[in-house]
C-alpha cells in the first residue's frame, strides 16, 4: 500500500480555505436528504459507524456542537425522509460540522470505497461486496426511513437501488481527502431540480 503523503485523519478534514461557515447557507431539503443518506452509507460500510462518528466528532473538535449521540442523532433527523423527522433546517455551522465528520469518515473508509468501485477486482468478489453493502444499507433504510416515500422506495428497488447506492459510494470516494469537503458541501447546496 503506497504511503499517502498528506492524509492523516484530522488533516484530511481540516478546512482548506478559511472558515467554511462564514459564507455558508443552510442546506436545502435535498441536501439534508443526501447528507443523511451518505451517513447511512458510512454506517452500512462500517458496522461500528455510529460510534465512529461520535469519536470522529470529538477528534475534530465538535464536542460542543454535538456533546452526545442524541444531539448528533437529532441533527440527522432533519432529513425529511426519516420516519421521525424533525422540522426546521440545520444551522450552517452544524451542517458544516456534519459534512466534515462525513468527509473524515470517507477518508477512513477510502480503501473499502475503492474496492467497491474498482473494476480490477474479481467480479465475483465485487458482486459479493456490493451484495453485503446493499443488504446492510437496505436494513438501515428500512429501520430508519419512511418507507412510504418514493425516494426511499427507489433506494430499496432492486435495480434503481444498486444505481443509487453506487452513486452514493462514488460521491463518498470523491469526498474523501483534502479537497473533498469543498466539493461535497457545494454539491449539497445544489439548487433544487
Amino acid at each position: 500500500m503506497p504511503e499517502d503523503t498528506t492524509s492523516t485523519l484530522p488533516a484530511a478534514s481540516r478546512p482548506t480555505s478559511g472558515p467554511a461557515s462564514a459564507h455558508a447557507m443552510p442546506l436545502p431539503r435535498r441536501g439534508l436528504e443526501r447528507l443523511d443518506l451518505l451517513l447511512l452509507c458510512v454506517e452500512a460500510l462500517d458496522l461500528n459507524g455510529g460510534e465512529a462518528m461520535i469519536w470522529m466528532s470529538e477528534q475534530l473538535g465538535f464536542a460542543t456542537l454535538f456533546p452526545n449521540r442524541v444531539e448528533l442523532w437529532k441533527r440527522r433527523c432533519t432529513n425529511p425522509l426519516r420516519r421521525a423527522t424533525r422540522r426546521g433546517q440545520l444551522e450552517p455551522l452544524e451542517s458544516d460540522a456534519l459534512i466534515r465528520i462525513l468527509c473524515a469518515m470517507a477518508e477512513r473508509l477510502y480503501p473499502l470505497l475503492r474496492q467497491l468501485l474498482s473494476s480490477n477486482e474479481p467480479e465475483s468478489v465485487t458482486a459479493e461486496r456490493w451484495g453485503l453493502f446493499q443488504a446492510r444499507l437496505a436494513d438501515l433504510v428500512a429501520e430508519r426511513l419512511n418507507l412510504r416515500r418514493g425516494g426511499v422506495q427507489r433506494l430499496l428497488h432492486a435495480e434503481q437501488g444498486h444505481q443509487l447506492a453506487r452513486q452514493l459510494v462514488r460521491a463518498l470516494s470523491l469526498s474523501a481527502g483534502v479537497g473533498g469537503f469543498e466539493r461535497l458541501r457545494a454539491s449539497l447546496l445544489d439548487a433544487p431540480a
Binding site: T16, Y110, S119, N120, S173, L174, V178, G179, R183, A191
Partner: protein
C-alpha cells in the same frame, strides 16, 4: 536546491520537481518554480509536461469530479485543449493531447476508483502549502437548476408542461362547445308593438 514532492495513491502517483523562488523570498521547502512533473497511472504510460499541462489537467479533472458528486456527469475540456475528460460507459475517458506535432492523443479509460485516486493526488498537490504554484481553482459552487436538469429524465421533465397544455386545450375546447346565450329582450319591451299600427283595410269609412 532541487525539491521533489510525491503524492501517491493506489493507482496514481504525481511527482512535482522544482525550486524555491528565492527572488520573492520563498523558503527552502517551498516549490515555487516547477521544472517538471510526472503522473503515473497504474498500467498506463507515464505522463509528463509543462506547468500549463498540469494546470489544464487540474482545471478539467477537478470540476468533472465536482459534477460527479452531484451525479451530473458532463464532458470538460474543448476539442483543442490539451486535456479533456468525459463520461464513457461505466467509466471515464481522459484524453491527453500532446503539443508535439503528429502525435496521436493519448486516450485513457479510467474506472471510478482510478478517477478518485487521480482526484486525490491532484487535490493533495494543489492544497499542499509547500507547493506555491498558481494551481488554484475557483471555489466549488453549487450547481444551478438548469445544470441539474439532466438528472431528471426527459419524460418526467416534459410531463408537467404537456399535462398543463393539454388541460388548457381541453378546457378551451369544452368552452367553445357551450352555445352562446340568446339575447334577452330588455325589460318592459315585451308588450310594446314592434311595427307601427296600420289602419284595417275594411274598416269604417
Amino acid at each position: 536546491m532541487k525539491l521533489s514532492y510525491r503524492y501517491e495513491q493506489t493507482s496514481a502517483r504525481l511527482q512535482l520537481e522544482g525550486l524555491p523562488d528565492v527572488s520573492i523570498g520563498q523558503g527552502e521547502q517551498v516549490l515555487g518554480i516547477l521544472t517538471s512533473w510526472q503522473l503515473t497511472l497504474a498500467g498506463r504510460p507515464e505522463l509528463e509536461g509543462k506547468r500549463e499541462h498540469l494546470l489544464a489537467l487540474i482545471q478539467v479533472v477537478l470540476p468533472y469530479a465536482r459534477h460527479l458528486v452531484s451525479d451530473v456527469p458532463r464532458a470538460f475540456g474543448s476539442a483543442t485543449s490539451p486535456v479533456a475528460i468525459e463520461p464513457k460507459g461505466p467509466g471515464h475517458r481522459l484524453l491527453l493531447r500532446s503539443s508535439q506535432p503528429d502525435t496521436e492523443p493519448l486516450d485513457l479509460q479510467l474506472d471510478d476508483a482510478e478517477l478518485a485516486d487521480l482526484v486525490r493526488c491532484l487535490d493533495q498537490a494543489r492544497l499542499d502549502w509547500r507547493v506555491q504554484l498558481p494551481l488554484a481553482l475557483p471555489e466549488a459552487q453549487p450547481l444551478k437548476r438548469r445544470e441539474l436538469l439532466v438528472r431528471v429524465p426527459l419524460a418526467q421533465r416534459l410531463a408537467a408542461p404537456i399535462v398543463g397544455a393539454a388541460a388548457v386545450a381541453l378546457t378551451a375546447s369544452l368552452a367553445l362547445m357551450v352555445p352562446p346565450p340568446r339575447p334577452t329582450p330588455p325589460p318592459g319591451a315585451s308588450t310594446a308593438p314592434t311595427t307601427p299600427a296600420e289602419p284595417p283595410a275594411n274598416g269604417p269609412r
